[in-house]
């Protein structure tokens, strides 16, 4: 006979405030095989755990059900408690009567009834629990950081400084990311490149860091501690080991019709190009779609002018494979497309620009060498309008519902340094709210208003028109005075919303990392595990997790690195014993399971099996690699013959739970 102990937690008033815990105890006592049931204020406390231990001793319990909070909170606590008195930790079941009951219900009668039902289901399940034993797996002492912006660079540097090997994977020809494009940084107004490039150099020179630029993630398999990754190093068409980075090729290239990505389309680059002067590596790439040699077979100027003979038109993509213990996602952000904001004139007038374009226009290394001019006329503007929240906090469906968080501060920054350099230029900022929490941030924004005389107008811009001569008219409303405004600025800057990088969704499916409805990576717990993905061994750094500024990004990058270091410092990991298991006797070998397994943990193997008649025959059956299996259960539901079962969550256990409820 089984001896089940049921322990009902009050969680202070969290549970007991809505659930009549004594009634739950009384109800479960009547269930056969329940040898003991009790309630207590805090089951997770030392005293609470002692109650469990004492009851096991006194009543000879062999199975434990704890009715408490989510198993995500304290399952590990109660498993350890069971183990300490000689009960296999997998003989413990949790009935979640807090998040799934007391917190979501108000009526005591209803909540108590539900708590009893949940307890009954857990008791029905625990009857079929079997002792399970975790295995061990090795940890590869190397990390991969995907994305070479400030988030990726900082994470890589911190991991490398701790003594572990780390590779940076960057899709662009250089590391540096968006921060390299920015002119100055708030709230100190120091030059962005001046603080970023030393870090880029540190990363490039670090003995523990390997940088793969112009590279994509091709394939990933494996699991925490043991990821197998294939990286596609795209052909640069330039031999990196011979190239001296002199840049003659980029100057002489005659194909100059491609807008420069780095300069946000404000000038053109050659088909062979180095994005910016401090690029790492300082090796050009040939954009084969723009290159005349690749398009027509004629040209070849770069190869003629190269003093080192580094141009190689026949170079092919290279696939490299590497093993990693941890992967950090630091894929950053981009600005939203403005196609839904035709009313603001972007694309119709060259003098309506994005904030990122303004960064390039004011940057000394930019297309105008830092002279603020209107792109259409090349003349200095006399007045500038900055529009906040273009696509942010927008519930109309055109943009994003979230706040992009960085715009209020950079708008103040832009306004301030325009006024600083061109005191005669009038600057007006239209805003919904000004949100500037952060150290020194509010003071910074106030300085823009009080010391630099920037006009802040609370209200939204409805329309921006451009006449035949290119003169702009901004139609807006001033909510504070209730007036309609009509302004004629020479330049309009749109502070557009940020969104995760395009590849975020694709990477999420390759890594089985979760994303939210906006394609930002989801953290394992929004408060307590903010730099970990729910997928073990995958960590998050920077904007790819949500909008944040540089100081926050750098902090999170360090936090992600600390988590990676904590993982790589371990020699072995305990594996989850709740893995899939195949009943080879009835497995038909259709291998549907191998197709649905996200971890590549199942393979078809031809082997001799005992048939249902007791005879032996050779046939293909599914075999699970327990080290790879993450226990997701996809195979068990795909298997038509139910020969695949998930240990700890067997079909029998799940149906017993359902039966107890219905």
């Amino acid at each position: 006979m089984q001896k089940i102990g049921v322990f009902v937690c009050w969680c202070g008033s969290n549970i007991a405030g809505t659930v009549d815990v004594a009634a739950v105890v009384e109800a479960v006592k009547k269930i056969p095989d329940v040898a003991y049931a009790v309630d207590y204020k805090y089951m997770c406390s030392e005293e609470g755990q002692k109650i469990i231990k004492d009851a096991v001793e006194e009543y000879g319990l062999d199975r434990i059900v704890v009715c408490s909070c989510s198993p995500r909170m304290h399952e590990a606590t109660f498993r350890k408690c069971a183990e300490s008195i000689g009960i296999n930790p997998y003989m413990v079941e949790i009935a979640n009567i807090r998040e799934q009951c007391s917190w979501v219900l108000k009526d005591v009668k209803v909540a108590t009834e539900k708590a009893i039902q949940l307890a009954k289901a857990a008791i029905a399940k625990v009857r079929f629990n079997n002792p399970l034993h975790p295995g061990q797996s090795q940890v590869v002492k190397r990390a991969l950081v995907i994305g070479g912006g400030i988030a990726g660079i900082q994470t890589a540097l911190d991991i490398a400084d701790a003594g572990y090997k780390v590779d940076i994977l960057e899709k662009e020809p250089t590391i540096g990311g968006k921060m390299a494009q920015i002119d100055k940084t708030f709230p100190t107004l120091d030059c962005s490149a001046c603080i970023l490039t030393p870090k880029m150099v540190d990363a490039a020179c670090h003995e523990n860091i390997t940088i793969h630029t112009y590279s994509d993630l091709e394939a990933v398999s494996g699991y925490v501690g043991n990821f197998d990754v294939t990286i596609r190093k795209k052909a640069r068409s330039v031999k990196a080991d011979i190239c001296s980075g002199c840049g003659i090729c980029t100057e002489k290239c005659p194909a100059r019709k491609t807008p420069s990505e780095f300069d946000e389309g404000l000038r053109n680059r050659g088909a062979i190009y180095i994005p910016f002067a401090q690029a790492i590596p300082k090796v050009p790439v040939i954009d084969r779609e723009a290159c005349l040699k690749f398009k027509t077979g004629k040209c070849g100027v770069c190869s003629i002018v190269c003093p080192n003979g580094a141009i190689d038109y026949t170079q092919e993509d290279e696939l490299i494979t590497e093993k990693y213990g941890a992967i950090v996602l630091a894929t950053g952000f981009e600005l939203i497309d403005l196609e839904n904001y035709g009313n603001l004139g972007y694309g119709r007038s060259k003098n309506v620009i994005t904030s990122m374009q303004l960064e390039r226009l004011t940057n000394a290394a930019g297309p105008t060498e830092g002279h603020l001019v209107c792109p259409a006329s090349g003349k200095e503007p006399k007045s500038v309008v900055i529009v906040s929240c273009v696509g942010s906090r927008d519930t109309s469906g055109r943009g994003k519902t979230y706040c992009s968080k960085v715009c209020c501060m950079y708008n103040a920054k832009h306004a301030m340094y325009i006024r600083e350099k061109y005191p005669n230029v009038d600057v007006t900022v239209f805003y919904i709210d000004v949100r500037t929490p952060g150290k020194g941030f509010d003071e910074f924004q106030r300085r823009a208003v009080e010391e630099y005389g920037v006009h802040y107008v609370r209200g939204q811009v409805g329309k921006i028109m451009s006449d035949k001569e290119g003169n702009l008219t901004v139609f807006a409303s001033d909510l504070n005075s209730g007036r309609h405004l009509m302004l004629n600025p020479d330049l309009v800057v749109l502070a557009c919303a940020v969104k995760p990088a395009k590849d975020a969704r694709k990477l999420a499916s390759m890594l089985t990392a979760s994303i939210d409805t906006n394609d930002f990576y989801v953290e394992a717990h929004p408060k307590l595990r903010p730099v970990e993905s729910p997928t073990a061994g995958i960590f998050l750094s920077g904007m790819c997790q949500g909008p944040k500024d540089i100081p926050e990004t750098v902090s999170q990058a360090g936090a992600a690195a600390a988590k990676v270091i904590g993982l790589l410092a371990k020699d072995k990991l305990m594996t989850n014993p709740c893995t899939a298991k195949c009943n080879e006797q009835i497995c038909s070998g259709c291998l549907t399971c191998t197709n649905v397994c996200p971890y590549g943990a199942i393979s078809g193997v031809e082997k001799e099996v005992v048939t249902l008649n007791g005879t032996r025959e050779k046939r293909v059956v599914a075999v699970v690699n327990e080290a790879l299996c993450q226990g997701c259960g996809a195979c068990t539901v795909a298997c038509p013959s139910a020969s695949m079962d998930l240990q700890g969550f067997t079909n029998k256990q799940i149906l017993a739970e359902v039966d107890a409820l219905c």
């Binding site: 497995c587 070998g589 259709c590 048939t611 013959s641 149906l655």
Partner: protein
């Protein structure tokens, strides 16, 4: 058809005599000339009993599972539509290519004797086909029907005269049945019903089931070592027998199990002694798969995985799928 039967007998004898195969799978005459049944022929003499006419609808593909288990090289005669089931069994690793020799056998549509009888032909002595006419001899006189009136339902959805797998083809290909109209018309009619109407419809249909398992036995996608409904250890089997309502779920669960693997051969509905419209469930899945993942025909080849068990980046999200379904 008589000529094809002769070619079959000759081919069977040739392959057995040349030791290319140990066994032949074909059709044998039943009590009447219109109830031919699948049969195995183990020697040259037996092969003289092989028959072939417009009443050989059964797909022999599934018998190849046994051939593979016995590791006996087997000759199998396959009509064009039968080849889809063979490919599906290969894909499911239930049969092995080295244990069968596939002979493509021409077909111009199989006839439904039930339909002929329902149209008033009694004590049938002979049926012959001429072009699109079916001439039925009875002691009470000769009756003539248009072919499409008396074709099997499954032949109304003819997939064409191409063999998707064959080691050789017998004679010339015959004209396939030209299907006109919407293959999914019946499914659409059910989709258009209200939830209550639909429930009543299926309640009515599925309550006819006597659980003879004929649909399961004939189905080339239902090829498990042990069906989940026969597995005492699996909780589903026991539940399915618990009461009438759950028993009716047998067909729904079966439809889910073969979804993406069902080749749409229509054999389940053909063999059902109770006339349950089983093919409709499978057709609904086929329609949805085509709609959500692009046209897919299970059994077209032996390698392409079903869209239901393979992931493509442009697969619709669940939300999108619900919206598209309307």
């Amino acid at each position: 058809m008589q000529k094809i039967a002769e070619l079959m007998r000759a081919k069977a004898v040739e392959l057995l005599q040349s030791s290319k195969a140990e066994r032949v799978l074909a059709w044998r005459a039943g009590e009447f000339f219109y109830d031919n049944a699948p049969a195995a022929f183990n020697d040259v003499d037996a092969c003289q009993e092989i028959v072939y006419n417009e009443f050989c609808p059964a797909n022999l593909a599934k018998y190849l599972i046994e051939a593979t288990k016995q590791q006996k090289k087997t000759v199998v005669f396959l009509k064009p539509c039968d080849t889809y089931g063979v490919n599906q069994l290969l894909k499911d690793h239930r049969i092995k290519r080295e244990y069968f020799y596939a002979v493509g056998t021409p077909c111009s549509g199989m006839l439904d004797v039930k339909k002929i009888k329902e149209l008033g032909a009694k004590a049938i002595t002979q049926i012959t086909c001429e072009d699109n006419k079916v001439i039925v001899e009875t002691p009470y006189g000769t009756k003539e029907f248009a072919k499409e009136e008396v074709l099997l339902d499954k032949c109304m959805m003819c997939k064409g005269n191409e063999y998707k797998i064959a080691d050789e083809e017998l004679g010339e290909k015959l004209e396939p049945i030209q299907f006109v109209g919407d293959r999914f018309a019946a499914v659409k009619a059910i989709e258009a019903m209200s939830a209550e109407e639909r429930f009543a419809f299926w309640q009515e249909e599925l309550s006819k089931c006597i659980r003879c398992n004929a649909c399961r036995d004939i189905c080339p996608a239902c090829s498990c070592e042990q069906c989940i409904f026969d597995n005492q250890e699996a909780p589903v089997g026991g539940k399915a027998a618990a009461d009438d309502v759950e028993e009716q779920l047998f067909h729904l669960i079966r439809a889910y199990h073969v979804a993406g693997r069902c080749v749409g051969c229509g054999e389940c509905a053909r063999v059902c002694p109770q006339g349950v419209k089983l093919g409709l469930l499978n057709l609904k899945f086929i329609k949805d798969i085509n709609q959500f993942y692009g046209a897919y025909q299970a059994g077209e080849d032996a390698t392409t995985p079903s869209p239901l068990v393979s992931y493509k980046e442009n697969d619709p999200e669940a939300e999108e799928a619900v919206q598209r379904r309307g």
